[in-house]
Amino acid sequence: QQQVKQSPQSLIVQKGGIPIINCAYENTAFDYFPWYQQFPGKGPALLIAIRPDVSEKKEGRFTISFNKSAKQFSLHIMDSQPGDSATYFCAAGRSNDYKLSFGAGTTVTVRA
């Protein structure tokens, strides 16, 4: 049973569009929510992360929105570029538990 549910499974946008990936969790003990980016043939790489005491975090063109009451968080890719085409994973972790639970992944394709 996946502790973090991620949607959609895949999406296609035009260059400059804003792909949005959503994740939901049930365990309220989770207190760290990272996003990982994976290019074909490579290992995942940490992209951006948020803690539940903030509602939004931006790093470059990547923004995480967090809704604690709804137990949901999402990734927005602003002004998307073909180089952003990759698989994105959301994850969740708990303090003092050095493990992450990952979502199933979203494959994003940005068309030129």
């Binding site: 499974q9 990982y36 290992g43 790489a45 940490l46 992360a49 994973f89 050095y98 990952f102």
Partner: protein, 113 residues
Amino acid sequence: DAGITQSPRHKVTETGTPVTLRCHQTENHRYMYWYRQDPGHGLRLIHYSYGVKDTDKGEVSDGYSVSRSKTEDFLLTLESATSSQTSVYFCAISESGFPYEQYFGPGTRLTVT
């Protein structure tokens, strides 16, 4: 890939044979993890280690064992490989104080025929 190597990178083996995958790090990080990646399932934790000789099970540990005799090496063994263990296996590391910032290796593609 943050000083992490995995070997072999590709392997084809037959059902019933034992297989050992190796993860080697040069970062001296305390925590090491083994994941498998399958379509529709994301990354699932197999086993992890929080120090030399200290290991614990993840969510999909059946049929797998691990060993860590040195800080830099974490071995994953499939005791008797089955076709359901065909997957891409990733090793990851993280350091004390930043356990959620995991750095992944390049992966091993394992096919069990």
